[in-house]
């Protein structure tokens, strides 16, 4: 009977029967993408901060310098490995490898979050490092000149600006993750792509199901990119500012003194 329908009727039929499954799959996709991008950002910021700690040959202890060098070597290896191999292979490697080699039984969900987070973190590490370096060195000098130490200068001055600089990169990663979580179907995560494969296989409606899935992916990515653009505008703040009445300031000062 499905063979008697035309293209649009078939799409409606699929949506009627499997609409809820598609939505659930899309929800899974979004959940993994958003959480893993957030965790990946945290990993990336931590790595980027470590990579940009200045080394003072005169004042830093030998121990601190060695520790920093080892940490950086580990981070370099991490970035190269996870940036240089496909995520689909990483998923299989971690999901099956950890249980065989280390006897750690990861659930597929844990494996999914782990793989996407760690993968995103590897990309973000370089973005954050670049974001930190791209902040005008004068900002760091200004912070030092009023007596801030490196940690204070980073948290109050440099990182907020670096974050703003790499926000487009974070958005990029989120959109890539929304699409690339589709590879997690190799470890049986029921995401949007997995639903597509099941439905298309059951009804032999590959084109129709792909059309639906394309539209859902596109909706998710377009909405995401618009929202991120809004966030950028909000972070930049208004182009105007209000002048403050000096009389008011005098009154405020007076009030606080009394």
């Amino acid at each position: 009977m499905i063979s008697d329908m035309n293209f649009f009727e078939r799409i409606l039929y699929i949506l009627e029967r499997y609409g809820a499954s598609y939505l659930k799959g899309a929800g899974t996709t979004l959940l993994i993408a958003i959480v893993s991008t957030a965790v990946g950002c945290i990993i990336g910021f931590a790595a980027g901060v470590v990579q940009t700690i200045p080394v003072d040959q005169k004042r830093d202890s030998f121990f601190k310098r060695i520790l920093l060098r080892i940490l950086r070597l580990i981070l370099d290896i991490y970035v190269e490995v996870f940036r240089g191999t496909p995520m689909i292979v990483q998923a299989v490697f971690i999901y099956y490898g950890l249980s065989q080699m280390c006897n750690i039984q990861l659930g597929m969900w844990q494996a999914a979050f782990l793989v996407v987070s760690v993968n995103t973190g590897a990309y973000m590490a370089e973005s954050v490092r670049g974001g930190i370096i791209s902040v005008d060195p004068g900002q760091m000098e200004g912070a030092k000149a009023i007596g801030m130490n490196h940690v204070q200068a980073m948290t109050c001055v440099i990182l907020p600006q670096a974050f703003r600089n790499i926000l487009p990169q974070i958005g990029n990663n989120l959109i890539i993750n929304i699409k690339d979580t589709s590879v997690l179907s190799v470890i049986s995560i029921v995401d949007l792509f997995f639903v597509h494969k099941s439905v298309a296989g059951a009804l032999y409606t590959y084109f129709e199901s792909a059309t639906i899935v394309m539209l859902i992916y596109l909706t998710m990515t377009v909405v995401t990119s618009r929202l991120l653009r809004l966030l950028e505008v909000k972070l930049d703040g208004s182009d105007n500012y209000e002048m403050t009445d000096t009389m008011d300031i005098g009154n405020q000062l007076g009030k606080k003194r009394s």
Binding site: R59, G138, A143, I146, G147, V157, Y241, I249
Partner: protein, 245 residues
């Protein structure tokens, strides 16, 4: 009066290039010292060494008798007492004017929010920037930015303020407003060390003038001595080039 700073045989080289070659002088409380000299004579490098933004190659910088080039010195604590105003302002781009003047007091001096705000407003009022507390640095003109930067440095209540060519990045019509503020501070007795190309200002406002050439102090004295009757040939030549324009 007691020396706040005493620079002893300061040397700084980048690779084989000696930028500072044996600099010695002292700064006492209330001193307003202008440092003049051609570009590349080492003026800014010296100021940056004093604030430890550059590591001196050798020599000592004594702050109340303590050598702050020693390895174990708490540099941030020292910098809190020795403020710096930069040629390019270096206001924090992610904060508004008021936050710029408060963040150091809050994070470094650990002052309460009320106290920090009050002090910030007091110094912003002094430089004439109080109406702009809600503005972001990118919305201000160069002269306004520099006045905020001065207020930010003052809000830490430093013992001495270093100025690194504070008007060199400004349009000519904005130079005056910044110099006015600096003159006011000098009259109020703030200890200042000013690297500048503003000869008229150096002559009128400072108590002492240091002329640097090729990494050494070529001549040092009162403005009358240095500008009026320079002893060194290099000073005369430098000053004559300024008078022509």
């Amino acid at each position: 009066m007691e020396n706040i700073l005493e620079i002893r045989n300061l040397k700084k080289s980048f690779g084989s290039h000696g930028v500072l070659r044996d600099i010695s002088f002292t700064v006492k409380a209330g001193d307003v010292i202008s440092i003049i000299g051609a570009s590349g004579s080492g003026k800014s490098t010296m100021l940056r060494c004093i604030n430890q933004l550059e590591d001196a190659t050798s020599g000592q910088i004594l702050y109340h008798g303590e050598d702050i080039t020693a390895p174990k010195v708490d540099v941030p604590a020292y910098r809190k007492k020795v403020g710096m105003v930069f040629q390019n302002f270096n206001l924090f781009e992610n904060m508004n004017v008021l936050e710029n003047c408060m963040v150091g007091q809050r994070k470094v001096a650990r002052k309460s929010k009320e106290e920090a705000e009050q002090k910030a407003l007091f110094y912003l009022e002094k430089v004439g920037m109080a109406p702009y507390i809600k503005a972001k640095p990118r919305q201000l003109s160069g002269g306004q930015k520099q006045r905020v930067a001065i207020a930010r440095a003052l809000a830490m209540e430093p013992e001495i303020l270093l100025f690194d060519e504070p008007t060199s990045a400004l349009d000519p019509q904005m130079v005056g407003e910044v110099l006015q503020v600096m003159e006011k501070l000098a009259q109020e007795g703030l200890t200042m060390l000013i690297v500048t190309h503003e000869m008229a200002f150096a002559r009128e406002v400072s108590k002492r003038v240091i002329f640097m050439a090729d990494g050494v102090i070529e001549e040092e004295g009162t403005p009358e001595e240095v500008f009026g009757s320079p002893r060194s040939e290099k000073t005369r030549e430098f000053l004559s080039r300024f008078r022509k324009c």
